[in-house]
Amino acid sequence: MSNRKQRRKRVNKAVKKDDKLAKIYWITFVVAFCSIVYQLLLAHTIALIAGSAIIWYSITVGVFLGSLGIGSILSGKINKKNSIQKLFLVEILLAFFGAISVCFMHFVQIIDIYFWAHGNIKLAFVFILFGSQSIVFSIGFLSGFELPMLMNMANTYSKEKRVTNRVLGIDYFGSLLGAVLFPLALVPFFRGITIGFVVAFINVLAAFFLISIFIPRDKKNKKRFTACFIFLIPLSVVIFKSEGIEKHFSKKYYYYPQAVYDFKNIFSSFKDAPNIETYHSAYQKIDIVNQQTFNLADVLMDAYTDKLIFDENFPIGKELYLNGDWQFNSGTEEIYHEYFAHVPILATDEIPKKVLVLGAGDGMLTRELLKYREIEKIVQVEIDPEMARLSREHKLFLAMNKGSLLDKRVELKITDAYSFVRNSKEKFDAIYLDFPTPVDYNTSRLYSREFYVFVRKCLNDKGFIVLDAPGVTSGIKLQQGSLLLNENEKSPWKEYAYTVKAAGFESVIPFISNLEKDNEHARKLANEYILSQYTQGISSEEKEEAIDDIVSNFVLDSQESFIFAQKELASEIAFHKADISTYLLNQKRFERAFQLDYKPIEKVEWQYVNSVLKPTIPKRNFWQIRFPYYIQ
């Protein structure tokens, strides 16, 4: 009788032990999931804030892993007594830092804009480096304690080697779930801020279970329970308020630079600033911003374009930003889209019948192309379903693109452009490539030699391609009256051009949207502006100089660069009249578009060619931090 009782007792004890071990495994799984999501979230947020995604992503992941290492090395130095209570503290601290991480990062960014605007570029870099990485380090360091502590805990229940390895294994499973869920299920559907709050919430719950399962209830423990609840309440509030918090930071990012000269504005709420519409997708954050302020450049633009005369209802002052990068201003977009669409067609003898448009999901480029009655079919490839939806449904976009993506001649395909051209058997007369500025290896593929070879396969013999070449204009200099390209460290022109050439395009010709400086109407507007600024007298010489400055700055700022390439050598570039109406482009400006002094390419220099096996784009620039367009 007593024997049986004893045995039952032993069995009970073993079951309890296994039960506790199972609970340790579960906690390991959850905290591992939380840690990896914090890490990915931090890397994601910093890459969005900073311009050069590769460097910042690597630094962030690196610092995180490094601080994990330091944390787990130091965990051995801690007294093993009360390790559960210590793990609890680690989890609560982690939840705290995780919850504030994204907001903290945005705050660092706002202060950084202040430094940048005041010309302290190096200080801005150092500040964003240390500011952003301090929180990465804190979270990584704390996460580093988790695994050794959990292993120790498991070892108090069983000394078997198996148990340690199992904790390690389950830690990896938790990481797996986090690594897969983050890009596939979290980023597409939730705001970064929300993700931080929700994961912190889960983390607090894990801490709560930890103490409720493993330590006896005493007075001190009660305090811990209370701490959990006190923490959970504001967390659940901010989870539901996260849209407002995000809006606040967006407003600051877009509108703060105008108020940048007053440091106090860092803390103001920007309640009265115009609203910002934000949409999230798996690929990007889409912001529609209202720029209501007086902008000299917009006023000067009126001197060059007839858009607002003939199209009174065209929306003004709306700007599109993708991941915080400026795309266009509705008042001035034609300087980009008209040159992009029409210059290549006007330069060739024949108007294409079948056109392929890669990217350009806003539909503005397609709007221009639809002006040609000769174009029978446009296949448009856009990767982001959310962008395509906005272009087809959103009132503002429909007003701007005139419903181009709903046109019968347009066939919209939602897929990755790289895969599309690689697998497509169709042939086109013209191919337009409009992709985001390459900031990482992901976008760099869309500017690679391999990609252009696939594009060339989709092209008819006499056809052409034209691509947006972001960053090239930064390398254009005015020298003795002509615009000089080439030989500039900053400009990626060589990388683009040699890559296109290496893909088998015979002629590669750059062109720019090059407005004239001697526009009388523009000079008159500049004159009025100067008179409004100087109440005291100004000599006529000084005035002429100031006018010249304003207009040439405007012309330089509004330059966009493109590359036009053909399979066969272009016979001659001349203006062929096509029966379309444009607001900005005319024969004179067409000719100016090709007025670039550059060395034509004869032999490919392979060290510049951007290949998927060895990328040369993006050209890395440590100092670059992402800012709204108008402050740069």
Binding site: I55, L68, G76, E450
Partner: protein
């Protein structure tokens, strides 16, 4: 240098190599199948999952023969990691871009993950042989994380843009191979089980062959890249 310091360095290097193999495979996979975000998460996910399985598979028998297994695993890692991009190029040529190709790529990633998962528990045991320090787990993990940290930074900022995908692979595999050889020279005498010596010697010879092949591949990697691109563009 004390054996313990050597072990630290070895841990660092093997973690460094593993993460670079993984990044290379993720990059290569997204080249063939597009949709980078999906490919990278699948790669990282499968890799971590496999590491978990690897870590859990290490049990008594394996721990007993830890020196043998560590050398053996390093050899396999060099073989699979060092030649995986080339294998992928040929696989996509033979299998096309369909399900079979994806399966093949996932098997490669999974194998590297499992082998990497083996490493850490084995290293922890090897540490315990050398020291009575109670925190060898924490330290091994720490150095392992630091290796991964350096690997991910150096790959993105230096190796990929400066060396390209192939040359990086060969360089890393070469480094990994050297680790295996060095470990054999320093530790193999400690392994005492009948017949072990002979097998270890054979592994050592294989490692030397790999070393020569990899060095040769590194020399011709420029031409190799050209022909692989040709294959890819077909």
């Amino acid at each position: 240098m004390s054996r313990i310091k050597i072990l630290y360095i070895l841990t660092f290097i093997v973690a460094f190599c593993s993460i670079v193999y993984e990044l290379i495979l993720g990059q290569a996979l997204s080249l063939f199948l597009g949709n980078t975000i999906l490919r990278f998460s699948v790669t990282i996910g499968v890799y971590m999952f496999a590491m978990g399985i690897g870590a859990m598979l290490v049990e008594g028998k394996i721990i007993k023969k830890r020196i043998f297994y560590f050398i053996f695993i390093e050899m396999l890692l060099v073989l699979i990691g060092g030649f995986s991009p080339i294998l992928l190029f040929f696989a996509q040529f033979v299998l096309g871009g369909g399900f079979l190709f994806l399966l093949f790529a996932l098997i490669l990633i999974f194998s590297i993950g499992v082998l990497t998962g083996f490493e850490i528990p084995l290293l922890m045991e090897l540490f315990k042989d050398e020291t009575k320090d109670g925190n060898s787990e924490g330290k091994v993990l720490g150095v392992d994380y630091l290796g991964a940290f350096m690997g991910s930074i150096v790959f993105a900022i230096f190796f990929y843009p400066k060396f390209g995908l192939l040359q990086t692979t060969f360089t890393i595999a070469l480094l990994n191979c050297l680790v295996g050889i060095f470990f054999y020279l320093k530790w193999s005498k400690k392994e005492k089980w009948s017949g072990g010596e002979k097998i270890l010697k054979n592994i050592f010879k294989t490692q030397i062959v790999f070393l020569v092949v990899l060095a040769g591949a590194l020399v011709v990697s420029g031409n190799l890249t050209e022909s692989l691109v040709g294959l890819y563009l077909k």
